[in-house]
Symmetry: C2
Subunit: 237 residues, 2 copies
């Protein structure tokens, strides 16, 4: 886009999101020249994330304008969002006019529930991305996937890496590099435990156990959302 | 600490903070067993960060209890905070009873203004950390510095790396590795531009230029805060 042109960014703010799914990409995207970021919620009340940090919306679904870039974070609250007709139809409508769509972590499940992943390559949090296939996605286990105008990132912090790629796509590599330097993003994780490909079997097993209940809830929600989407697709035929 | 013991964490929430300085470490620290995180502000109104994302406090300076771990983020608003007697004395008082202190980005300037860095090794955002010497710190240009119970991190995203080290210190390495896997922190930055040691000369120069006005304001604020601290130190003798 021309450097002097505004880029309208709508980021979804739903109850029970994982706040870093949103706040990481926010910090990168908002620094682009011309970025106009809206945090879109059901109403104007502060939205509680999954672990007690609450963020103030800047607009509501009803008031939100169309976006150039639509951003969907994830978190435990996504399991309710994919069954909420208001969120699902909002995403579907917004995506129609957006030039780019960006899903982070389990946010890609909502993209799926809105019918945006049929035949598209996509990724998501390692404990949930296999479920994207139920929405017709070609699932990748990469940290970042770009398929045309669709950007998807793995769990939580993958959104920061991908946001830099989005900036490079929209404003050029030098703009992304400037932002990377501003936020001093030269990561030095103290351990090698950030993906199921490098973590120990013990750590992975403990995490799977801790996530078993969430996984059960999510499987049921996805099955229901996928069935609804199937009917919607039939209805649209 | 014993695994069943609460860890009280007070994170400072002041106007004009850089939200990722707080939200990155928050996402890591809150996942520790027993973590009880408070977001401490001047009053209970939502606090606007430097680029329009507002966060809701959970308590006020007057109501905040003592912390085991005191966390100080940075951002443009730090230049007012280091000259605000209420913030400076809050940090000094809280640090007295805290077992650990953790400064992120330019947050270390406030630790300095509170007199906590005399003779201590510390780091901060690459565009500001040299100023820590005015508060008597031994300045490091590392991304993370641990000096006894004092943790300091470089700019913005360095807080995520350091938060994992803090968890390892407080709850053991396996706890930190579990959290790293939950947030899928296996970074793959698309460019090598995250520090002045790896960014191009062109990128660094552009960033220095863009930050010149902020630097001017900050130098004046730090000189004043350091003088105030000097008088305070004399008064305490």
């Amino acid at each position: 886009m021309a450097d002097d042109q505004d880029i309208r960014i709508n980021m979804l703010l739903f109850k029970g999101l994982t706040q870093l799914d949103l706040t990481g990409p926010f910090e990168v995207l908002v620094r682009m020249a011309g970025a106009r970021v809206a945090l879109v919620a059901e109403n104007m009340a502060a939205v509680a994330s999954d672990r007690g940090l609450s963020i103030v919306p800047t607009t509501t679904r009803d008031q939100a304008g169309r976006a150039d870039l639509l951003v969907v974070p994830g978190g435990p609250g996504i399991d309710a969002a994919i069954l909420d007709p208001d969120w699902v139809s909002f995403v579907r409508q917004q995506a129609r006019s957006a030039r780019w769509v960006f899903g982070i972590c389990t946010g890609s499940l909502l993209l799926g529930a809105a019918g945006l992943l049929r035949g598209r390559r996509a990724t998501g949090h390692w404990q949930a991305r296999d479920l994207l296939s139920q929405f017709g996605a070609e699932v990748s286990d990469e940290r970042m996937v770009v398929d045309g105008n669709l950007f998807t990132a793995g769990g939580v912090t993958a959104g920061i890496d991908m946001a830099l790629r989005v900036v490079a796509e929209l404003r050029g590599e030098e703009a992304a590099k400037r932002i990377q330097l501003q936020i001093e993003y030269d990561p030095q994780p103290p351990f090698r435990s950030g993906s199921p490909f490098v973590a120990s079997a013990e750590t992975i097993e403990a995490q799977r156990k801790a996530g078993a209940e969430r996984r059960r809830i999510r499987e049921a929600a996805v099955a229901k959302a996928a069935a609804t989407l199937g009917f919607a697709a039939l209805a649209a035929d």
